[in-house]
């Protein structure tokens, strides 16, 4: 019997054989992206509970794709090392601005690959180098990058510090674009910490600066943020007006990815207003815009998750499940493990609505995936929170209490409260 006719190896078993070391992270990502569900299991009674761990993998197929992984790794390292050499050459020429720019490129490369801590290390070096310069614009840029990264790492206080300093420098240098970015970042940091008036003030200030600069993309983005804020504050009339303007600016600016983001917000607002059909239409149009931009898998996944949540809220469980399965496939094919955690959490919530005890398998899978991620206490806390609510729905009081307590502990380590996170 040739190896190809043997049954595939389960992903859970395959991952058990792979040590948790950084050197094999690309191999792990490749393995996940090649995982396929067993067609025969799709219609079995365990079919609805299929998760990544129960998918199959043919070692032969992994072997066939290894060269692709090697190329990706070497390409990544080549660009990274080249950026460093460029920084060195610039240093030799005493071109401090280019030193910072090269280091920033390296950081962005790491950030793009999802290696956030490595990215921070490059940005920190870049920041150090930028402080010695007379021209402060490189520092504005580095601080903007550091702020955005801190937002991604949910370190909101640090993000706010970076953007504050960046704003002060940008204003001193008359760097309007830098100032707009800083205001936007400060608004985000406030928004995520539940400080609505602060967020409102920063976004409004950013909007005025963007108007003065005639930056249509920034105007669109900031109007969208104000719409998000309006939605959170329950001021849906204002939010609707902001999102209308955001869509106008972004469509005129020809920014398909940001247009898709605006439509996601539009969909959320429509859902809040109970306009299910309109929300559905907004998400469908968002998908269409997302496909016009260079394919951003993360964006597509956000839209699909929004669609699934909408169907779930509307009690259309069959459609919700179908959409979740599409999202799962997108996340697996794109190796977006962090987003896969969201997909499985949502699947668990769906089973909870159906009073289906076996739905716990999705939360267990999500927790396991969180442990594969670098720096994911927020994601893990959210899973435990939803797991606790799932157990509560099934009237498993003790388990519910234990999981909610675990969520509280994890949120506390991040300096957040469960309440804030839910808001």
């Amino acid at each position: 019997m040739s190896s190809s006719s043997l049954p595939p190896v389960r992903v859970s078993k395959a991952l058990d054989l792979l040590p948790d070391v950084e050197a094999v992270a690309p191999l792990r990502a490749l393995l996940v992206s090649l995982a396929r569900p067993d067609e025969r299991a799709m219609w079995s009674s365990s079919g609805p509970y299929l998760t990544l761990g129960k998918r199959g993998l043919q070692p032969e197929e992994l072997a066939r794709h290894l060269s692709q992984a090697f190329h990706q790794v070497t390409d990544h390292l080549q660009v990274l090392y080249r950026a460093y050499v460029q920084a060195l050459e610039a240093q030799q020429r005493n071109d401090g601005g280019e030193v910072v720019a090269a280091l920033l490129r390296a950081g962005r490369l790491e950030e793009g690959a999802g290696r956030l801590l490595q990215a921070r290390a490059w940005y920190d070096v870049a920041w150090h180098a930028s402080q010695a310069l007379q021209d402060r614009r490189p520092e504005v840029e580095v601080l903007g990058a550091l702020g955005r990264l801190s937002l991604a790492l949910r370190d909101y206080a640090d993000a706010a510090r970076c953007f504050q300093r960046s704003l002060a420098l940008a204003e001193a240098e008359f760097d309007q674009a830098g100032a707009v970015t800083a205001c936007e970042g400060l608004g985000h940091a406030a928004l995520w910490q539940g400080q609505w008036p602060g967020a409102q003030a920063w976004f409004a200030r950013g909007l005025r600066l963007a108007e003065a600069a005639g930056d249509r993309r920034a105007l669109g983005r900031l109007e969208r943020q104000l719409a998000v804020l309006g939605g959170k504050q329950g001021d849906l009339a204002a939010a609707t007006e902001h999102i209308r303007r955001a869509r106008e600016w972004l469509e005129a600016a020809g920014a398909p990815d940001e247009m898709a983001q605006a439509l996601i917000t539009q969909g959320h607002l429509d859902a809040q207003l109970g306009r299910h059909v309109a929300a559905l239409a907004a998400y469908r149009e968002a998908l269409a815009w997302a496909q016009r931009s260079p394919h951003d898998v993360g964006l597509e996944l956000s839209i699909r998750l929004s669609l699934a949540e909408l169907q779930l809220e509307a009690g259309r469980l069959l459609e919700a499940e179908e959409e979740m399965r599409r999202a799962e496939q997108v996340a697996i094919a794109g190796s977006l493990t962090a987003r896969l955690v969201q997909v499985y959490t949502l699947m668990g919530i769906l089973r909870g609505r159906q009073q289906d005890e076996t739905g716990f398998v999705f939360f267990e899978q999500a927790i396991e995936l969180c442990r594969m991620l670098e720096q994911a206490p927020g994601a893990e806390a959210q899973v435990y929170l939803d797991y606790g609510l799932f157990q509560q729905r099934l009237e498993h009081v003790e388990e519910a209490r234990a999981y909610l307590e675990r969520a509280r502990e994890l949120f506390a380590t991040m300096g957040e409260t469960v309440k804030r996170e839910r808001a």
Partner: protein, 465 residues
Amino acid sequence: MSVEPASSSPAPRKEGRPQVRVLVAGEDGGSLLQTLRQWADEAGCVMEAAPDLPHAVRSLAAERWDVVVAVLGERADEELTWWVDAMRGAAGGPRLIAATQNPSMGLVLRAESLGVLDLLALPLRKNDVLGALRRVRSAAVEVALPLPEVEHHTVGQYALVGQSPAMLEVYKLMARVGPSTATVLIQGESGTGKEVVARAVHLHGPKATGRFVAVNCAAIPENLLESELFGHEKGAFTGAVTRKIGRFEQAIGGTLFLDEVADMSLALQAKILRAVQEREIERVGGGEPIAVEVRLIAATNRDLREAIAQGRFREDLFYRLAVVTIRLPTLAERGEDLVLLTAFFVRQFAERYGKRIQGISDRALDLLGNHAWVGNVRELRNVIERAVIVASDNTLRVEHLPDEFRGEEATLADRPQGALLPLVELEARHIARVLAHTNGQIGAAAEILGIHRNTLTRKMKEYGL
């Protein structure tokens, strides 16, 4: 983009026909739009244009369309998926006609599986376009048939439906085994109704007043299954945050249903064997044996004797479980039960979703009858539930069926049954089918086809699969 000169094919007559609304979408406007507008007019269709996918999606949300003609770009395969995705849920269930510069057999098969009405080559030919539009019209003519009355036997929230000889044999065996407490093994392909039969056996047995506890052994990760079955004490392992009562204990005085029992590890099979023999269990991390008086029903879609031969299933456990074996027929073996099950599910879901569906169209019923039901009754139930959800009037029609059914219709519509296919098409279709069966595994597919993998790879490339 170009258009070939129109041929002399006669256009369908306009009189007495519903007007078909066509939305043409593509990056390129100009001459193609003009020509299409002329052809659409000749065919008695109303045509409008959208410059791109996002604008087409807006039009689909705002108005009802019967057909969307989409011009695909360089990434035709990917774009086809986008279009199908974009049209999902659009009012009126419009059909997609896709046009591409580079049609391949792979793309044609992909289009069929996605339910695309037709895939046309650019430059467009008048005959092809008018032919596709004619098919939209003919598909619109469906005759509603009343749903037959169905006798069924209620089993909790489920029901046993069917009068086929194969099912009558199952009913007889259930009647014989029900009154005893004998352990029962139910075998059958996925979706044949093993859990429903298990519930029915429980309800007709001496433990009917006790609980029916079902565990899906394949759904639960191996490392969690033991504690799920036997329970655990608090702190027995990382994650054991509270004491947990296992499914065996929950089922005391009732029935424990072990579904997909072949998926258990050998170590766990040994523990199950002990529980069955000794009638007692121990919680994980606990030292005290707990007596468990339960009726055990197991089910599997695998051949357990083969699993025993391969050393994947314990023979002693098999004989403990298979005191009585009930084999369930596939849907294909149940003949006219398909119609009864369809009618039953239509009524069930119509009531659940507040719909007033009284009939099903002849074409929809034909498609259901021709479908290869890999997932048996579960798949049928799923298809009908979905159809009932999207149906807006009192008849289930082809447009309410999933995309792949509409693709099957597209294949059959212009081709009489039994028509002879060119050898290359036959070969391409067969390769595609085998690849689907092997989940895309080239090595396994080559083995089934009896050809070298390099030959298969070459043919896949040739056919664009």
